[in-house]
């Protein structure tokens, strides 16, 4: 190969290879923030990706105008109901705070607050459930923060840049969520599965064989594992499959979040120092 005939080219290619291998090693040991090169690429690309996303959203708004107007009416009604519920909740929260103070209890769930973000890009791989959002460390987002929508669980923040973050969704192959089937209080694991990925489904595993799991059961986060807080709804069971090992049941879970049409998310920022918690 002519390229390798000169020593200069050989040295450059070896240097780049070594640098990239080191970069791969460093990024795989789980740093809290993205590296300089990754961050720079992310910062440069994010505004363009945000702009492109706005253009595409504007096109899809024109196409689905009447659908959005109906949705808007329904949402307004829901907002009024939610405001009433919030007023009740505020009363309960203040009463709760007083009682906690009286009993000198520490809140062990942490103070959670939400950061709204837009989905601006997806991974180039077709089998990857990874998305990019346009908020990052400068907005207070940290690695392992939980990402949700009003419908339910989206995933967790797996990489953080200055103005962007990468979110691993629950449909991604690397995702594994400790969950509970609400109706029967049965613990299980909800995982991404390649054979279900194109149907926007997840796999539920390790529910005990004698548990009365049935289709339509709601699955939510159990709070175990250290990443996801307890009680966030994941989806509902659509199909129960037989596991040949005889000690557990598997099922298909349809997430409440529509991942094929995901444009905005909320990041749950927690005051808990995630580094002190075991990984999920």
């Amino acid at each position: 190969m002519i390229f390798f005939k000169t020593n200069k080219n050989k040295i450059i290619i070896i240097a780049i290879t070594i640098t990239l291998m080191l970069s791969m090693f460093v990024s795989s040991i789980g740093k809290e923030k993205a590296g300089i090169i990754s961050n720079t690429f992310g910062i440069i690309l994010t505004p363009f990706q945000t702009a492109a996303d706005y253009i595409m959203q504007a096109f899809s708004y024109g196409k689905d105008k009447s659908k959005f107007e109906n949705e808007n009416t329904i949402l307004k009604q829901q907002l009024i109901t939610a405001q009433k519920e919030k007023a009740d909740y505020d009363d309960l929260a203040s009463e709760n705070a007083k009682l906690r103070a009286m009993l000198e209890l520490k809140k062990n769930s942490g103070d959670l607050n939400l950061i709204a973000a837009d989905v601006v890009a997806t991974d180039s791989s077709s089998w990857s459930g990874v998305i990019k959002i346009n908020k990052g460390a400068s907005s207070g987002i940290k690695k392992n923060d939980t990402v949700i929508t009003e419908a339910g669980l989206v995933g967790y923040v797996s990489k953080v840049g200055q103005t962007w973050a990468i979110v691993t969704t629950i449909t991604d192959l690397s995702s594994s969520v400790s969950a509970v089937i609400e109706r029967i209080n049965e613990y299980c694991i909800v995982q991404g599965d390649i054979s279900l990925y194109d149907k926007n489904l997840c796999a539920m595993k390790y529910a005990s064989a004698d548990s009365a799991v049935s289709t339509g059961d709601i699955v939510s986060t159990s709070g175990d594992g250290g990443i996801y807080p307890k009680g966030i709804q994941i989806g509902k069971i659509t199909k129960i499959t037989v596991n040949t090992n005889g000690i557990s049941q598997d099922a298909h879970v349809e997430p409440f979040v529509d991942f094929s049409n995901l444009s905005a998310v909320m990041v749950m920022r927690s005051s808990i120092d995630r580094n002190e918690l075991p990984s999920a």
Binding site: M24, A34, I37, S124, S125, S126, V130, K132, K159, I194
Partner: protein
Amino acid sequence: MKKVLTYISLVLLVILGTSLGRYIEIFGVSPNPALCFVIIYSLTNGSVRSASLGLVCGLIFDSVSNVAFGFNGLILMYMCLISSYFSKRFYYHNKTALVFGVFMYSLFYETLSMLFTAVIFSDAPFFHTFFRFALVEASLNSIIAIPILFWVKWLNNEYIRGI
């Protein structure tokens, strides 16, 4: 100027693929226009230009991916080196061969990427992933390669005369 235009084209195609691509899915799979662009470019250009474009494209992919940073950069840099090596022998004057080259190199890249991200670390079944995703994406890439081919031709018309 041509180099600048080449890299601007790459960035635009990456944005097209990662931002708008999710709205344009065929059989649940989006084509990868940036990958097509670097393959066609490397099949019609010299090694140094091709390897650097492949490297930059891979690093941009890495910034929107959850894999170890540098993985796509490394794969694409070597893939572009290999494809530019064959360029003068097979693809220099033949559009059909270029489209076939896009299909084969896309399939190679997707299979390698799939092996390292899905099959080895996530126990995904190889054949399902290969037929359901890699093969479909490579086919879609070879279709969108046709307009990209003319764009690359315009970009580097002083290097390739025969296309």
